[in-house]
Symmetry: C2
Subunit: 321 residues, 2 copies
Amino acid sequence: MVDLDREEHELLARIARQWYVDRRTQSEIADEFGLSRPKVQRLLDRARATGVVEVHIDVPLGLDLDLEKRFVDAFGLKAAIVSPSVPDADEQRSLVARRAAGYLERLLVDSSVVAISHGRDVGAVPRHFRPNTAIDCVFASAMGGSPRVDAPTNPNETCRSLAQRCDGRAESLYAPVYVESAEVRDRLLEQDAVAHALKVAASADIALLGIGGADDSCTMVRSGCLTTAEMRTLRKQGAVGDVLGNYVDINGAHIVAPHSSRVIGLSIDELRAIPTVVAAVSGSEKPRAILGVLRAGIVDVLILDESNAHMVLDLARTGGN
Amino acid sequence: MVDLDREEHELLARIARQWYVDRRTQSEIADEFGLSRPKVQRLLDRARATGVVEVHIDVPLGLDLDLEKRFVDAFGLKAAIVSPSVPDADEQRSLVARRAAGYLERLLVDSSVVAISHGRDVGAVPRHFRPNTAIDCVFASAMGGSPRVDAPTNPNETCRSLAQRCDGRAESLYAPVYVESAEVRDRLLEQDAVAHALKVAASADIALLGIGGADDSCTMVRSGCLTTAEMRTLRKQGAVGDVLGNYVDINGAHIVAPHSSRVIGLSIDELRAIPTVVAAVSGSEKPRAILGVLRAGIVDVLILDESNAHMVLDLARTGGN
DNA sequence: CGCGGAGCTGAGCATCTGCTCACGGAGATG
DNA sequence: CATCTCCGTGAGCAGATGCTCAGCTCCGCG
């Protein structure tokens, strides 16, 4: 705090009191103190700057708004939401999903279109999604499904649950995430049903995405979309994680792999064109994946747990290699 | 504090943080959170009401803004300024006078007319009066002088000193406070010089007054304006103090005494017509005088020491009898 | 003593804010 | 089941606010 002489300190305190506590207008205060209104404003600014006025916000336990702010600033986000960390992975996922659901509830309006990815984190969102009025919106799968994993992880199923809870509509994409060859993909994309679903997803106002890791236990491998060998190759190329099957390295660069042309889903550029891309992510294996995806500049709103948040910032600070 | 559920508390904290700390506009916040702007405003109100937001003002040691507020509210003042209390009477007078001077400095503009009373408290003001620019204003004696007391106590002298310090003008009143008879007074008031000076004083924008006591050691008695016998009579009539030689009782009623018609100075009604009447007062014998004068509804701005302040409020609370 | 820059000032304006009001939906009541 | 009342909502507006800018004084330097 800059040093103030007694007289000025008294004046600042008096004026601050009248403005902040007694809620008088600056003009009233100016008249009473024989000052011009702009002068009162400058004194109020000064009172803040010198710490004569301090605003204290009682933040609920476990909520670290500074941490969120650091994310917003570091990665140019619209918002970051950090949930408290808990040891249990499922509970952790719930906490993150709950916040994602709350965020969606506030954001959605009639005629909103929401693109949805697969993944366990996103799949947990519908359970917490309880808008208090019906919303005439559309949830569209932004990528293909993986027949070999639990239903709630598939984008179609997530879309359906979300739509049901707000009386909206689901736009399903009946296709796998990865197909055998670029040729098969192109053939599929010619199908009206597939093309239409992807077109809807690409035109979304909002995307709700998970962030996948690049380890052998990630959803992509567990679901059989990619083999452990393919995953190993990806890692050799520097892959740290993916969104919608598009892998990136720790610096956010897109990794072009043999299977890149076999992906069915929105591309990174299509994602960038969506105004609000929300990523919800939990899991202790994710920090590098999160950092890579953030650096790719895809995400506008990040929802994650505190432990990941700290680790991502640490990684970013140390260069992340 | 009203109980909030976790979710609402988080929202309030987030929004409050963005508004109070990050200084974003309500519209921006509304957009980010998917709310209407008025809703954000209501949430901010709620955040204050529930104590999620607390504004703390660092008040200089010894300054009690609550105490001042209580005065303002209790007596319908424009402002009250309480100086710290010190044991030494002269130092105490300085502290009060300093604040009176500061107040005047802010209030005065070119063409201001200030009516001045006699008294030691008012007489101490010029020593602290240091406007940082010249002001083309007029200081006019609002009452006659008392030849037998020190110069600095006389209104003419106080006017002169004040005028000198801001390069303004002094309008002297060459007459005693009390004369022998109503007849002499009327004769004096016919004098152009006297009439003019009082007319200027009556047209003042601001009055700076002391408050006199009703004890035998008060200025009026010490200066020989009133005898101890007259003072005794006044006290029997309930007098507790005076402004400009007009005595009031503890309830603020004007006391009509034999000598009331021998006063040379502004009447209580003339004072009430002055937009801003500032009273500066110190001295341990003054609480009842202050209360009486306050209740007379003459004063707009009161400047006093903390000890008097507490005693006046106590007196007022207990009925003051 | 004259000149130039730094810092402060209040007028003026575009924007933001607080408030009022009419509306609509939820829950209570007949 | 109809109707009533109450609460919460966002449109709209008057007034308050924050900011820019030209003019000013004060200070330092030539």
